[in-house]
Amino acid sequence: MSAPVDRTTHPGAEASIGRSLIIANVSRRRFLQGVSAFGGLVLAVGYPSAIRAEEAKKYGADGMPNGWTDNPLAFVSIAEDGTVTIVCHRSEMGQGIRTGMPMIVADELEADWKRVRVAQAPGDEKKFGNQDTDGSRSTRHFFEPMRRCGAAARTMLEAAAAERWKVPVSEVEAQNHEVVHRPSGRRLGYGALAKAAASQPVPARDTLRLKDPKKFRYIGKGNLKLVDGRDIVTGKAQYGIDTRLPGMLYAVVARPPVYGGKVASFDPAEALKVPGVQKVVQIEDSPPPAHFNPVGGVAVIGRNTWAAMQGRQALKITWDDGPNASYDSVAFKASLEESARKPGKVVRNDGDFAAAAAGAPRRLDAEYYVPHLAHATMEAPAAAARIMNGKCEVWGPFQSPQATRDLVAKRLGMSADDVTVHVTLLGGGFGRKSKPDYGIEAAVLSKAMDGKPVKVTWTRDDDLHHGYYHTVSVEHLEAGVDGQGKPVAWLHRTVAPTIISTFNPEAKNEAPFELGMGVINVPFAIPNVRIENPEAIAHTRIGWFRSVSNIPHAFAVQSFVAELAAAAGRDPKDFLLEVIGPARQVSPELLGDTWNHGESPERYPVDTGRLRRVAEVAAREAGWGKKLPKGRGLGIAAHYSFVSYIAAVVEVAVDDKGVLTVPRVDMAVDCGACVNPDRVRAQMEGAAVMGVALATLGEISFKGGRVEQDNFNGYQVTRINEAPRDIRVHIIPGDFSKPMGGVGEPGVPPIPPALCNAIFAATGKRIRRLPIRDQLKA
């Protein structure tokens, strides 16, 4: 048998940077480092900016922990053979950021993409700026800093060439990986200039010449293949679960099945008899609030994953379930409904809802339910760690590498300076891998094995049973409509356990960042609007799931608008546009939204013209109004989230047995200018599938405090035969001088309501409870 191969992880970021660091540390300029000096661990790990309200308001990347940097010395290095290495400091989870971010630098650098290598940054926000890859933020926060990195490095190469030729720098110009002396036609390659460029000063930010966007070679062109594409299709790509270290051991963990539970007693004897099992180790439990901590349990460590899994099966554990053992999803739904039918905390109040509704000729109401969801990344959580000479290294698929570093250090009682977090590719993230509980587990287990390398692998049931779930919610809506059926009074009560409960168990109301996801910041032309948020208590770990609270909010709001249209006998698209009202810019603050996705309300007002336009484009491209055979229907929804505007028109077919298929989805997206249009398309395609998956099949339910779904048979996700067959993405052209919007998440929210509106058009049946599952078969 061959010896295990030692291919530690994918391109070792630090190693490769260090080796080729020809442009060295000669800065004369003080780089603006992250300016958000928030104290305390909680804030340092990306606690929502909304709850830092008392801090001076900072927006965009300035408002994120450790902010941003545009230091070319941190991001760009050039080897003497001309190879340009660009560091990507954001985590790759399928959004294409390892292509997009370096592409921005390369373009301004005038680098030949064929000679560019990408290195992944370890968790080090002091050096690289914020690395929390979440909130659909990477491109809009780092487009400008990355451009400046490239432009600064280009300027240093030009200065080096001018010095070499003893000519004014105004006579030289970087072009496609070489610097040209225009009058003489002399040329020098980047490799030949690398050393001399390294001794040039880093130019001051305000002296940089950025390219005219008309001269972009890569940005906005869609002409580059994915950096990792070839490795992915040949099996060479390295995810966290693929980490291999010399002498590494393999672990799986039996965790308390109920949130807040712990090990009462356990007997390792049978587990230790399993061939290949080496040790059984208890992991200390972490009582709620969960934060990002491991939940504790009993780990089995062996020579391979299978041996550890067999050992775990042989463990005898008695659990102390604790107070959440009574958590039951059926009963909880009823309690949410009860809360939603009574007044709650008023979070927005325009005009006088009660009076206007009382005076309206007609009133309508509806309630919508969205259950817990699990991210179910195809790569379940996994991480490896080793401790040597007082230093700990962790490898894994982390969306928040700095938080991982800080929390591993805290758990091990080490300084964060002695912890290195290597970020591998992520086999899906969707928000689950913002929480590095599995990275901490790996570090704890390595310590228990005297620092030997240990990899912890989560099985699918571990993943589904110990998630940071999407919340569960009831949305109660009421409207008073005028004689034409148009709403003059609008009440929305949203009830859902808040993500804040994962950090503070006393939290019972939605946070500003949850309310600002499509419930209070709905810019409709309705004079009397009242938004209320009754309390809800969490009984499990609630976390961020791709597009977060926008999912239930958009489902309710966009379904209810369609219900009002139907009651008025109006075309749903025309009615939606009328409810949105004329094109105008609405201040988020006027809507009571103090969060605005962390962005400046001046730079990012809510623009109803853009919202109208995506709805119009999606409708036009989908052939809205076309004649469809029986059992077919079109539905529309438009939603603003992550400072982008997206509308979807979904076409469904429902046969006489109630079997649902989705022949086509048209999505119009206005996210501002696109760095990599093909990846914007890909994110929309994926969002359409994920939206269909959660609307038709997705549900995590609890009974006796335990998750009822164990694997992809119980927690079903959409497969190729059930997915939309034809997804057409229509990108509204953007302007690189205008603020950008997010892409990774905002495609999801309009899909479930557009789907259910299409089902109504096709069948007359209104879906108010997700998932749809067999509701059409009744």
């Binding site: 048998m1 295990p4 191969v5 030692d6 291919r7 989870m93 399928g94 959004q95 294409g96 293949k225 994915l226 594409g229 070839r230 992915i232 299709v233 040949t234 099996g235 060479k236 790509a237 995810y239 679960i241 693929d242 291999r244 020579r303 391979n304 994953t305 299978w306 899994m309 990344t377 195809m378 790569e379 379940a380 590719l425 992520l426 086999g427 899906g428 993230g429 969707f430 099985t459 699918r460 990846r679 890909a682 994110q683 395609e685 994926g686 969002a687 359409a688 599938v689 994920m690 998956a693 694997n711 992809f712 048979n713 996700v717 959409t718 497969r719 190729i720 035969n721 997915a723 067959r725």
Partner: protein
């Protein structure tokens, strides 16, 4: 000792016969291209070829692979069909996170090996055992067709 030919190389595996092929490949032989997704043959991430047939390695004990030929994602490109699929996958930008794509390509390669020009329905049938959580299905279908077209003109 269980003899298995893996990617053209004969290996003698010294593990209990019930050990799944998946963990043998990944943990013992370092062939990490084959992915773990569910452990119950529900997601297809672990798909490999066993004597040319697509199988889920998570539920295939190594005893069942004795004296047989296993091909994984690391070697599927040695055959024209695998190579054409890999090229189409890159060309059309199929992968998002990419984690499931090894299994997708292995299933697609087994499909094209027995049916050089599959219909949409045949693609759906052959590929419905492979989950992609990122939702790359439309591009997977397009890439299989592109690879099939190239196969036909070769």
């Amino acid at each position: 000792m269980i003899p298995i030919e893996i990617n053209g190389r004969r290996q003698n595996i010294d593990l209990p016969g019930e050990t799944p092929l998946l963990w043998t490949l990944r943990d013992e032989l370092g062939l990490t291209g084959t992915k773990f997704g569910c452990g119950m043959a529900l997601c297809g991430a672990c798909t490999v070829h066993l004597d040319g047939q697509a199988v889920r390695s998570c539920l295939t004990p190594i005893s069942a692979a004795a004296n047989k030929k296993v091909v994984t994602i690391e070697a599927v490109g040695n055959a024209p069909v695998g190579k054409a699929l890999q090229a189409a996958w890159v060309d059309l930008g199929v992968p998002q996170c990419g984690y499931c794509q090894a299994g997708q390509i292995m299933s697609a390669a087994a499909l094209l090996a027995r049916n050089a020009n599959p219909t949409d329905a045949q693609i759906d049938q052959a590929m419905s055992g492979n989950i992609c959580r990122c939702g790359t299905y439309t591009r997977i279908r397009a890439a299989i067709k592109q690879a099939a077209k190239q196969g036909g003109t070769r």
